[in-house]
Symmetry: C2
Subunit: 327 residues, 2 copies
């Protein structure tokens, strides 16, 4: 295992401290936790927005803590849900009286632990609402669909809605609209290694790629020979277009790197995705290319499409000063 | 070679096109070139800023094209200097009458080709000035020092100076001040593979790392057993502090990933760098952690320190809308 770390069991603690020290002008670590929160939270005029999940997806989620996005992010161990007590600390830290909204990715542990934290917060008279993001179309059964890179667009849009003074119900309604209209699909060329495990989570031969990969080092739904960037872009995009009707609509596109795929390759994929969308009469209003939701040093990418209406378009274009949000 | 590409000989062309299509609201590709330029260039009230170099360092350099940074970036083939005619096209595209300033990294090909382009531009009555960035302290001989991640801070500060209406001479003088006060040092755990070559540029055993690495796939100055993140941070930072007196000063710090090193590891390194600087009485005013100047999918990092005075501090904090500049 070639990693720049100290103790494999302390990576999340050290990373969280490193983030807080590096960006102390706008965020801080809640003492005794791996929660990163905005320095200007809580804000009594604004719904607090909290997300999080296992670590190893950086810049998700702490990189999205900032004005116009999240108020706090909770980091679990690598690829492991954060505990309810840590999530509760985040909720308490950002509640200014207008309530707290939780953005959860659809994994069993995350859903259970965020739900439990919400109940504990409500017992302390904090109003809490949540959404569960399930943008990954690799899995046909909708209830089993995982939350992947599309989650970042939920962060952005729900965060902007809260920043504009939307009520807890408004923020929830807008976030649900994003979830209804967002779809993603990913693939990998190389697996990743969880520090505490020390070995890759699966193996891929030199000529193989894996389609429908998740972001937790789990293998995908189909293994096949590596094809060209254009074929990969087409396979991912076609799967998304087959799942949801984007025709005639304005969209946002995200081509997301999973960790070790150079921007060069992501832009080559993006180039083809845009051509496919144009051929399908789909107008691209906004494009994001880069590492937004990673899986440690996995090589691969995902494509995300979000169908936009006027409200979503406007909120997506609102400014944010979150460290990792480019666009 | 596991890469998401189509033709290894077309990666730069396809990437450039992909960038222009993805970010058409703020930049475009000059026809028949691999130059990316701002849509609002040329600006008659502003010095034009041009940088560039070999491809494979993304987001450098096109990711820094935007308000407050570069007006245009010229992309050569992977790890190969762009040709003088392409650089000349960039200069002509961004000259609004106030002159054009070139930011060049200290590699023989880049220095020669940017110089030749400057002469060609001057023959067309365009005023041109330039600086050569040589922040890499891995090499003792100052004239042989390479330009690495510190170049991004030159882009940022020179870009802000030009945006504020500084003359060509003002911009040059400020950029020279950055270069005098910036130092970097890098290391790698894994090499990278140039697409057209198909094999890694050097080999490292499973227990080995390379100190003093460059950003063109070349090997470094010392090979040794992998140590901890703290030891690596100390080795890189000590080398920088031994080269230039940062004591008692305000500084900016950049912990830069070379391509496949997760943000998690970069923040662990940053955590230690900050502690070392504090122990040395050096105040950190601003920290950048992420992938700013990469070497394809190389695993490793570099540390950059910039000594700040009031002018540099102010310019570094000016806003920029360049896609890849977070901070």
């Amino acid at each position: 295992m070639k990693k720049i770390i100290n103790d494999p069991n302390e990576v999340v603690q050290e990373m969280t401290k490193g983030m807080a020290v590096a960006h102390s002008e706008q965020l801080h670590q809640l003492p005794g936790t791996t929660v990163i929160a905005r320095n200007d939270a809580p804000n009594e005029n604004k719904v607090g927005i909290v997300s999080g999940g296992g670590s190893g997806h950086e810049p998700a989620h702490a990189g999205y803590v900032g004005k116009g996005m999240l108020d706090a992010a909770v980091a679990g161990e690598v690829f492991t849900s954060p505990t309810p007590d840590q999530i509760l600390e985040a909720i308490k830290a950002v509640d200014g009286g207008a309530g707290v909204f939780l953005i959860v990715k659809n994994y069993t542990g995350d859903v259970l632990n965020f739900e439990m934290a919400a109940e504990l917060a409500e017992a302390e008279d904090i109003r809490v609402e949540k959404v569960v993001v399930n943008d990954d179309v690799a899995v046909d059964d909708v209830s089993s669909r995982r939350g992947i890179a599309g989650t970042i667009l939920v962060h952005k849009i729900a965060g902007a809605k809260a920043e504009q003074g939307g009520s807890l119900e408004d923020v929830k309604s807008t976030a649900e609209k994003v979830i209804e209209n967002v779809r993603s699909m990913g693939m990998a060329l190389k697996p990743c290694t969880v520090p505490a495990a020390g070995v890759p989570s699966f193996e891929l031969a030199e000529n193989e790629m894996e389609i429908g990969i998740g972001i937790h080092g789990e293998s995908g739904i189909e293994r096949k020979d590596i094809s060209t960037a254009d074929d990969i872009a087409k396979e991912l995009t076609d799967k998304i277009l087959g799942d949801f009707d984007f025709s005639g609509s304005d969209t946002a596109v995200m081509v997301n790197g999973l960790g070790s795929t150079p921007d060069m390759e992501l832009y080559i994929v993006s180039n083809k995705v845009q051509a496919i969308l144009t051929d399908n009469g789909i107008y691209v209003d906004k494009t994001f290319v880069g590492e937004y939701m990673t899986s440690l040093e996995m090589a691969g990418c995902s494509v995300t499409l979000l169908k936009l209406d006027d409200e979503l378009k406007q909120l997506l274009n609102e400014p944010s000063n979150a460290m990792a949000f480019q666009g």
